[in-house]
């Protein structure tokens, strides 16, 4: 223990020689502990100029902690950080910026009501005679956009931009500090394919200019496309660094999880004769949902594929009563139900697992037991509204065992669990409520590879038990792996219903089958 705090500085021994490619960043033997948790133990990372270096690992592997040390958010307990071969002590984000280390966080940190240019130069606005020089500000921003080959008005308000464009503004902001090291944390989480391509063009241009990019992502195909090397971390430790192009995906995954994953095939029970559990007829809401009708049978998993903004989440929320709908009928087990609020939906036996667990799924401040019981508290309420904690505990502990939720106890605060285990807590909540129609919106977003396959197995098991399941996912392999049938949406319309074995090409064709242009010209004709 004392060893970690000993002044171990390899820097005073190793004066950088005239070795041509001095790494841009060299982090060695980094230790970092938080009370109760050792986040990093002898972690290592190296970044060369003009390199895209992917940093991979399951959630909790220490990727973000390591990068937060590099960008001055945290200070290290031990180890050394070298920039251009010079030892540095980065103690604040401001200092990191001045040293040329920029970070683009997963949650964009932009001020929505300000313009793109104002965002980029926040805190160091050009002034003339003490008055803000908006003209100069916009010219400076335009220059950066031009260098990125990005078509964007400096005066546009950030809130009107797409997530992808907002990300570009973040990158421009990082570049405006003359960053030579750019850390990107899950930059494509909210981007569609076209936007990802746009992002990669910019990354490649930065690369050519000698900027080193640290790319944190869970998406294997992207890593293969964009990065030169991959460093894998596990449990706060360095596992290894491999070239991205020549290393099979399986190898990288087994480095991440410490074991080889069997990609077992989905057992699809025959659901042809099963009764319909949920039927949606002619659902409509503005431009987001246009005349959507479909049915899910008992024991069936219906996948929803489509591009970002195709209206899949909107459909789910409208069925669940979370958003108002303009028209449309919802039938559950052959009976029409009126759903005006989530309460009505839950009473009809429908559970919704949001893509954004932190905001919509979990009461993160409450413990696991109360989160599991959250939708069923009325069942545990006795005389005078007193809660029966003993039964709540019994049920919670039962589900913790049944779904193998990894938590020290049922009184652990939900926010302290990993993403996969939080997702299981939400699943337990609906199972306890006896919901037999479950809508999963991006069930594995932000969940690491090992936990993903566990969630898949769980979904299969739930379907086998006779639950009717809807899975919305932006990852095609996930939809293909899970679904008995696949509904494809584009611009609010259901453009096709495919069997489980459909090809990715077929899905993509339907997902891009735009009808709005046709419809709109028809409307125009009518009004004219």
């Amino acid at each position: 223990m004392a060893g970690h705090f000993a002044p171990a500085s390899p820097a005073d021994a190793a004066v950088p020689l005239a070795n041509p490619p001095v790494p841009l960043v060299e982090m060695t033997d980094i230790d970092k502990s938080f009370p109760g948790v050792r986040a990093l133990s002898r972690a290592r990372f190296e970044l060369k100029p003009g390199e895209v270096h992917a940093l991979m690992g399951e959630n909790g592997a220490g990727k973000s902690t390591l990068m937060k040390i590099l960008s001055g958010v945290y200070t290290r307990d031990a180890g050394s950080v070298l920039l251009d071969g010079q030892p540095v002590d980065i103690t604040s984000p401001r200092q990191a910026q001045s040293l040329g280390v920029g970070i683009i966080h997963q949650e964009l940190a932009l001020m929505r009501d300000l313009t793109a240019a104002q965002n980029i130069f926040i805190g160091r606005e050009p002034r003339r005679f003490g008055i803000l020089d908006e003209g100069q500000l916009n010219r400076d921003a335009a220059a950066i956009f031009a260098s990125m080959n990005l078509k964007l008005e400096p005066t546009v308000k950030v809130e009107t931009l797409t997530i992808a464009k907002q990300q570009m503004v973040e990158i421009a902001k990082a570049l405006s500090y003359r960053s030579r090291v750019l850390i990107m944390d899950e930059p494509t989480a909210a981007l569609n394919d076209a936007e990802i391509a746009e992002l990669f063009t910019i990354i490649n241009r930065l690369k050519a200019e000698g900027v080193g990019v640290v790319y944190i992502s869970h998406k294997m195909d992207e890593i293969k496309r964009i990065s030169d090397r991959v460093t894998v971390m596990r449990d706060g430790e360095y596992v290894g660094t491999v070239p991205a192009a020549d290393t099979p995906i399986e190898t990288i995954i087994s480095m991440m999880v410490g074991r080889t994953l069997s990609n077992e095939a989905l057992v699809i029970p025959n659901t042809a004769d099963a009764p319909v559990a949920l039927e949606v007829k002619n659902l409509n809401r503005g431009r987001e949902i246009r005349d959507v009708s479909f049915a899910v049978k008992k024991g069936e998993i219906l996948g929803f594929a489509g591009l970002m903004g195709a209206g899949r989440t909107e459909v789910a929320r409208a069925i669940f009563g979370a958003d108002r709908r303009e028209s449309g009928e919802i039938w559950v087990h052959g009976k029409r139900v009126g759903i005006a609020s989530p309460k009505d939906a839950v009473e009809a036996g429908i559970g919704y697992l949001s893509e954004d667990r932190k905001h919509f799924g979990l009461a993160t401040g409450l413990d696991v037991r109360n989160n599991i019981a959250l939708a069923s508290l009325d069942r545990f309420t006795g005389l005078g509204g007193v809660l029966d904690e003993a039964s709540m505990q019994k049920e919670a502990v039962g589900y913790i065992g049944q779904l193998s939720i990894k938590t020290p106890s049922d009184t652990q605060e939900a926010r302290l669990l990993s993403g996969g285990n939080q997702q299981k807590v939400v699943i337990a909540k609906w199972l306890l409520r006896d919901c037999d129609i479950l809508i999963f919106d991006e069930p594995t977003r932000g969940i690491d590879v090992g936990a993903k396959s566990e969630i898949y197995k769980l979904l299969n098991a739930l379907a086998a038990e006779g639950k009717a399941i809807i899975v919305i996912s932006s990852e095609l392999p996930e939809v293909l792996r899970l679904s008995h049938r696949i509904a494809v949406m584009c611009e609010g319309r259901l453009t096709g219903m495919l069997p489980g074995g459909a090809s990715q090409e077929e899905i993509m064709r339907l997902a891009t089958q735009r009808q709005s242009s046709v419809a709109e010209s028809a409307t125009q004709r009518r009004t004219a």
């Binding site: 502990s33 799924g361 009461a363 993160t364 509204g385 007193v386 302290l416």
Partner: protein, 332 residues
């Protein structure tokens, strides 16, 4: 830190931290008591201790009401003037209408509950932010109190026994050595009930859940509006109790009184470790917070410190208490 110790420490972390803050507030209270005892022999007299408790009763009850609302992530600025409004209602029932005493008490508590219900409905159904909704209610109730009473105090001289509600001592009749005033016993009773509701009932659980993540609660199929209105109504009823207490203590309903009490109540809540962002808080903490404010006021008065300076010290204590909480969370 060894690896085996890590999970255990993580597991017990949050609970220890909650206890730690109560401990901190409690140690602060003890430190104040010890300091004042050493500074003045008059402080640690039974009479003085009872006076401190008596002075805490009204603010304590109001602060408990505020605690409930603040845990949901809301705020109630109307507790002060609502208290006055309830006192005025009691005055109308007992003095103007000459009805029997229990009806006056029930009427005041009912008035508080209804006003809480109205605030809650405005917040939950009309989606008006709690700060604005209760600011509006604060002014409405202040005005109504003046209108109903004709801007004059209503005295309870015709209702013998009314001032015994707060000032009498049932305990003193049994144990003459410690004549704890009824007002103090009522404070303790309200605290016990509120702690029970928060800790053991569905309403309490939803109170914390709402403050923790309201949207998650809504998407769990819970009728969020109904529970939120319930919390504000319960808080209103508790404010009604405070209205009876203050009217009893003054033997009159003073319609001009009330504004400013809400800030003392919020101060007690904050010193007691309840988070203004919701999801976290305890009745015991609030009780300790209210006692700290009273002990300070009393002790400084005994040391002949001017009233103006007492206010300055209270302000400093609020900032210190919250800063201590921030320090604790940073080091944890």
């Amino acid at each position: 830190m060894t690896d085996t110790a890590a999970p255990a420490a993580q597991k017990s972390g949050p609970r220890i931290s909650g206890a730690f803050h109560r401990l901190l507030a409690f140690s602060g209270l003890i430190a104040l008591v010890v300091a004042f005892s050493l500074a003045s022999p008059n402080f640690m007299q039974t009479q003085n201790i009872l006076a401190i408790l008596q002075a805490t009763s009204v603010n304590g009850v109001l602060a408990i009401a505020a605690t409930l609302v603040i845990i949901t992530g809301g705020i109630d600025l109307s507790v002060g003037t609502l208290m006055t409004f309830c006192a005025v209602i009691a005055g109308v029932i007992l003095t103007y209408l000459g009805l029997p005493l229990p009806l006056g008490v029930v009427g005041a508590i009912l008035a508080g509950t209804v006003c809480g219900l109205i605030s809650g409905t405005i917040i939950a159904k009309l989606k008006v932010p709690p700060f604005i909704a209760t600011l509006g209610m604060m002014l409405i109730l202040k005005g109504l109190s003046l209108v109903i009473s004709g801007t004059r105090p209503i005295y309870f001289n015709d209702t013998p026994g009314f001032n015994q509600i707060a000032l009498g001592s049932v305990v003193g009749q049994i144990i003459p050595a410690v004549p704890v005033p009824n007002g103090v016993m009522i404070l303790f009773a309200v605290a016990l009930i509120a702690a029970f509701v928060l800790g053991k009932t569905a309403l309490g659980r939803y109170t914390f859940a709402l403050g923790s993540n309201e949207e998650a609660v809504r998407l769990s199929g819970v009728n969020v509006d109904r529970w939120k209105i319930g919390v504000y109504a319960l808080a209103g009823g508790i404010v009604g109790v405070a209205g009876v207490l203050i009217a009893s203590r003054l033997n009159s309903a003073q319609p001009a009184l009330g504004q400013g009490y809400e800030l003392d109540a919020i101060a007690a809540v904050v010193i007691g470790g309840t988070s203004l962002s919701g999801g976290r808080g305890t009745v015991l903490g609030t009780l300790i917070g209210a006692l700290i404010i009273s002990v300070l006021a009393n002790g400084l008065r005994i040391l002949s410190v001017a009233q103006e300076w007492q206010t300055v010290v209270t302000g400093c204590i609020i900032i210190l208490a919250v800063y201590a909480d921030i320090l604790r969370r940073r080091t944890l």
